[in-house]
Symmetry: D2
C-alpha cells in the first residue's frame, strides 16, 4: 500500500526493455545519439510543433530551473502558486540557475491561481521602477500540487494575462500526462496553443527511470538552453539512456496509458474515501492524487495496516487526540496495484 509518491514507483517494463535494447554497441555521447533524433521527431509530432527545440534532463527540478533561467532575467520575478514545487521543494534551485530571481507567490484555492489573483500579483510589481524586482515569468503547474487539474481554458486565461504583461509562460508538467488524460485535451492544446512557451514534460513520476523533456516551442533560445544545461552539469555523457527512456515512453501512447492507470487507481481511492463517514476530501480528485482529512484514529489504523503516505502537520504524524484531523496525501502511480487499492479500502472501512 504505497501512496507516498509517484517517485517511489519503479520503471515501466517497456522502458526497461528499451534501456536493455539501446545498450548494444557504441553510441555517440552528449545528445548526439540517433535515438535522440527520433525522440525529437516524436515530440514535435505529438505536440504538433515542428520547430520545437527538445532537450532531455534528469528530473523535474532541473527541467524547471533551466526553463525558468532561460526565460527569466536575474532581476525577474517568477509568479508561481504558493504551493508550487519551484517555491517549496527545490531548495532554491530556480534562484540558483536564474542567478537571482524572486519567487512571487500567487494565492489560490485547490492549488490553482485564479486570473484575478495573477493579475493582482503582476500589478503589485511596479513597472519600470529600478528599485524593484521586475516582472519576469509566469509558471503554472499541471497537474497542480493539490492534485487538481487546470482545464485548457484555465491555462489559456492565465497565459493571456501573462501575455498582456508581455511575459513568457512556463508550465511545470511533472504530471503533464495525468492532466492530459484527466481533461482529454491534446498535448498542443494544453501547451503552446494555450500560450505556454516552455514546458517541463515529465517522465520520471510516470514510469520512467529518470528523464524529463524540456520543450521550447519557440526555438530562439535553444542554444542558450544547451549551454545552460551543460554548465549545470545536466548534459548526460551516455545520453542514449535518457533518449531510450523517452522514446519508449512516447511510443504507442505508453505515457498516456501509464497516466490513465494512475488516475484510475486514484479514482478508486477517492471512491473508498467518499464512502467513509469520517474522511473528507480536501480537493477535487482530478488526476492521480487524493488529498484527505482524516481523524487520527483512522490514520493510525491505516498506518498500522501498512499504508504509506505523507501527512501533515508533521510526518510521521505526531501523537495527539484520536479525533484530531490529519491532512494526508495519497499518490497513485502507473504501478499501483488493484490489490493495494483493495487492501487500502478494507483498512479504511475497518474490514481488514
Amino acid at each position: 500500500m504505497e501512496f507516498a509518491s509517484d517517485n517511489t514507483s519503479g520503471t515501466a517494463p517497456e522502458i526497461m526493455a528499451a534501456l536493455a535494447a539501446v545498450n548494444a554497441g557504441y553510441a555517440p555521447s552528449y545528445g548526439n545519439d540517433p535515438v535522440m533524433e527520433r525522440v525529437r521527431a516524436q515530440i514535435r509530432e505529438i505536440f504538433e510543433a515542428p520547430d520545437a527545440a527538445v532537450y532531455l534532463v534528469n528530473n523535474g527540478t532541473t527541467a524547471n530551473s533551466l526553463s525558468l533561467a532561460t526565460y527569466c532575467p536575474p532581476w525577474g520575478g517568477v509568479y508561481c502558486h504558493a504551493s508550487a514545487h519551484v517555491e517549496v521543494d527545490e531548495c532554491g534551485a530556480p534562484e540558483f540557475f536564474i542567478g537571482g530571481g524572486k519567487m512571487l507567490t500567487v494565492p489560490g484555492a485547490r492549488g490553482k491561481m485564479t486570473p484575478e489573483a495573477l493579475r493582482k500579483a503582476l500589478e503589485a510589481t511596479p513597472h519600470g521602477f529600478v528599485h524593484s524586482i521586475q516582472r519576469g515569468i509566469v509558471t503554472l503547474t499541471n497537474t497542480t500540487e493539490a492534485g487538481t487539474v487546470y482545464s485548457v481554458a484555465e491555462i489559456e486565461a492565465l497565459a493571456a494575462i501573462a501575455k498582456s504583461f508581455e511575459l513568457p509562460v512556463h508550465l511545470d508538467g511533472a504530471r503533464f500526462a495525468n492532466a492530459l488524460v484527466s481533461t482529454n485535451a491534446s498535448p498542443a492544446e494544453m501547451s503552446w496553443k494555450a500560450g505556454v512557451d516552455i514546458l517541463s514534460f515529465g517522465g520520471t513520476k510516470n514510469g520512467c527511470m529518470g528523464v524529463e523533456a524540456v520543450i521550447l516551442f519557440d526555438p530562439t533560445k535553444a542554444w542558450e538552453f544547451e549551454l545552460r544545461r551543460k554548465r549545470g552539469g545536466h548534459l548526460f555523457s551516455k545520453h542514449r539512456y535518457l533518449s531510450a527512456q523517452m522514446e519508449a515512453y512516447l511510443t504507442d501512447g505508453l505515457w498516456l496509458r501509464l497516466a490513465r492507470a494512475a488516475n484510475e487507481k486514484a479514482a478508486a481511492l477517492e471512491t473508498a474515501f467518499r464512502s467513509h463517514p469520517d474522511a473528507r476530501l480536501l480537493y477535487p480528485r482530478d488526476a492521480n492524487m487524493v488529498f484527505a482529512s482524516l481523524p487520527r484514529a483512522l490514520h493510525d489504523r491505516l498506518a498500522s495496516a501498512g499504508a504509506h503516505y505523507y501527512c501533515w502537520p508533521g510526518d510521521p504524524a505526531p501523537e495527539g487526540p484520536a479525533e484530531e484531523k490529519i491532512g494526508a496525501r495519497f499518490v497513485c502511480s502507473w504501478s499501483t496495484a488493484d490489490a493495494e487499492i483493495d487492501a487500502f479500502a478494507r483498512a479504511l472501512s475497518g474490514s481488514a
Copy 2:
C-alpha cells in the same frame, strides 16, 4: 573500431542486470533507498574510510563542480592543470557552482603538474591581498587528460604543497579505476592517504550507465554538499537506479576488472603504434588512452578503414599535405573488443 571516447561505450552487463533487479517494487526516493546504504558501506570499506560521506551524481562535470564548490569560496582560485576537464570541457560549470572562482592553470608536460610548477602558481597568487583572487583549492586529475597516471608518490608530493598553503585537494577521478590498476595502488593510498580531501570517483566512463560518487573523506561538509547537490538539480528522484549501478560496479571488483580490460586494450593499441615507423606516441601510455602523432596519409587510411577517434587541430581533420602530422587520441573502454584492436592494427600496418 570505436576509440572516440569511453563515453561512447555501453553499460556493463552486470550493471544492466542490477538495474533490472532493483526495479522490482517500491523504493524510497531521493537517496533514502536501502541500496544506497549498502553503497556507502562498500565505499567506506574499499577506501578504508569509515567516516567518509558518500553521494552519487550523474556525471563527472557534476561531481567535479559540486566538489570544488564545497571546498572553494567564490573568490578562490582553482589550481588545475592547463588541460584539466574543469578548465577545458565543462563550459564554466565549476565557476557556476562555485559562484565565481577562477581557474588558475598550472603547466606541465604529459598532462601532469610538477610540484615546482604548482608551487610557483601558488606563490604567484598574492596572499592576503584583497585585490586578488585568493588561493582556493588544488585539483588534480588521475588518470590525466593526457592518459598518463600520477603515481601515489606524485599525488603525495602535490598534495603536500597544497597543504603547506593550507589548501584542500580535490581529485578528478573520472578514470580513477584506470589509474589504480595502472599503479596497483590501493584506493586509500591514491586518495586520502595521499592528501586528497574530496574525490570524484568515476563510474560512467568505466561501464556504468551514468553515475559518479563523490567521496568526502572528512564528512564535516556533508550536509552542505547535500544542499548543493539538491539545489543544483542533482538529487535523483528515483535514486535507487544510481545506487544499483554503483553497487554492482563495486561488487566483486567489477570496477577494477573493467578498468583493467580497458587498459589492456590500450596497451595492445600502444604495441601496434610502436611497431609502425610513421606513428609517434605523444605521451606514455599509462592507462586506457593512447595519444599519437600520425601523418595525414596514415590518418586517412585509418579513418577510411572505419576507425573513430578524435584528432587535432580540427576534428574531423582538415585537408592538408599527406605528410602533415595530426594529433590523435584513442580511448579504449571496458567494451573494446579484441577484434577492434586487431582490425585497427591491420589498418595501421596497411595489411587490412
Copy 3:
C-alpha cells in the same frame, strides 16, 4: 516643503568641512588611510565593542547586501518584515550578493515583526529537509520602514528567538541614529547587547554625502567581508573621502544631533496632523517619518502649496473622488527647516 525622502537632503556642513580638510595632500588608498584608523576607533568606542570589525561602503543597499551575504549561505532564508527595504527596494541585491537566498517575509503591524510571527515563520521552514530552503538569518530594521522604532526590549526578544534557532541577526540601521534618539538607548544596547551580530549603520540619510558603516561585532568573518566588498566593487579607491565623512559624523555627537533635529521636525509635523480633523496618522510617529491618511482634497491642497512627499496607491496620486483616502509618507531630515514645517502646517490648516 520637501518631505519626499531623507535622501533628497544635502550634506551637513560639518561633513562638507571634513571633506575639504581631508583633501589636502596624498593619502593611502583602498581603506588604508589614517582617517579610517580613527573611524574604527570611534566606532569601537561608541559601540563599546573593542574587537568589532568596521568597514565603510557607499549606501544602505550595499551595507545590507554584503552583511546578509556574509552571514547567510546561498541556500538560506532571510527572515525579514514584509515591508523591509531588502525585500521591497533593492531590486534583488541581497539575493545577488548572497548568490541565492530567499526572502521569507514575516508579517506584522506598524512595520514590526512580533516574536510570535517570527517564531512561526522560522518553524514553517523545515529543519534539515534537503528539499527546502534552510533557515539562514534574521534581519530587523530600526527605525522601521513604517517610521516606528523597536525598543531595545523588542530587539532583544526577536534576537532571542533567532538565537534559539542558532541564527545570526542583522540590523538594517539606515536610520539607526533616529531610533537611538527616539529611545535614548545606547548604541551597544540597541545592537550587540540585544543580540545583533552585524549592523548596517547608516550615515547617508542622516547628513552624510554617501557613507554607511558595516559593523561586525564578532570579527571572525572580517576578512571574508573585505573580499566580498572588493569583489562587489565596493572598496573605494580614494577611501579617505568615506572615512572623513564618517569621522565628522561621529565627532562630538553630530550624528545624534542631526537625527534629533529630524525627529523633532517630524514631531512638529505630527502635531500639525493631529490637529487636523480629516487627517489620520497611520502609525505611531516614533522617529523622523510621519505616515498619514488624507482625503484627496486635502492632498491636492498640500501638493499645490508645494509640499513633496510620496503617496499611494500611485505616485503622483491618480485622480479620484475628493473624499477618497490617500496614504502619504512625510520624511524629515537633519536639514528640514522650521519654515518648511510652518508652511506645511499652514497649508494643512488651510490658512496658507
Copy 4:
C-alpha cells in the same frame, strides 16, 4: 615624492568647489538630479554620440564589471590582456557580476594585445562547442596597465577582429583622458568610431573624488544596465554628488588639463631616468606612468629619500644583493608637483 598610484592623489579644487556648490538645498535622489541631465548632455556632446546612455558609478572595478556583465553572458569568455585590471586587480568582480564568465588572457608586450594574438585567442575558443566557454567580449585597456597607449589605429584593428567574430568591445578607460592627450585623438575616435561599444570612462584617478561614467554608445541595453547597477548596490542615493563631480570634470576641458599635467610630470620623470646610467625604462612612457628597472642600491637610495612607488617582486622590496634589478612603477597624477619631480631627480642622480 608620491608615485605609488594616481589613487593616492586628492580631488581637484574645481571638483571640490562643485561639490560645495551642489550641496545647497534638496535634490531628487537616485540619478534623477538635474545635474545628471547636464552630465548626460555633456558626455553626448563630447563623444559626438547623441543617443548614448550614460551612467555614473563609484570606481573602475564597478564600471568594468557592470559593463562586462551587460555585454557578456555567464558562459562567455572575456578576452583581455594578461595584465588587465579585470584579470589581476578586481578579486573576481567581473566574474561575480557576469555570473560566471572566464577571463581568457591574451599575451602581448608592453601591456598591449596584438591583433594576431587576439585572433589566435579567439580562434582557440571552439565555436558552437557546448563543452567550452563561448566567445563573449573583448576588453581593451587604454592607457594600458604598462603605461603605454594604444593608438586609434591599434584600437580599430583590435575592434575589427572582435567584430569579425561578432563580439562586442569594451574599453577600460580608467586612464582614458591620459590616453587621449597622449594621442591627440578625439573622444569619439578613441571609442565608438574605433569600434568600442561600451566605455568605462575614468574620473577618479584623474582628479575626481570617486566617479566613473559608463557610456553605452548603443542604448539598447540601457535599462538592463540600470537594473544591474541597482542590484549591485551601485545606484547612489544622493546621486547629485556623483553628477557634480563629473560635471565639473568635463567643464572647460578640466579633465584634459588634469591628464595633460599628469602626463607632463611623467615625461619629466622619464627624462630623469633616461639620464641615469643604471636605470632602464621597461616600457615606452606614453602617458602618466613610468616603469623602470633599477638596481637595488638605487632603489634603496630613492626609498630612503622618501620616494613612494610600487616595486616587484615583492613590495616592499625584499633584501638582496645591491646589483639585483628591481622593477618599479612610478605614477604621476594631476597633483604631482614640480618639486616632487625635482626632488626625485636629485635623489636619482645622487645629488640630493
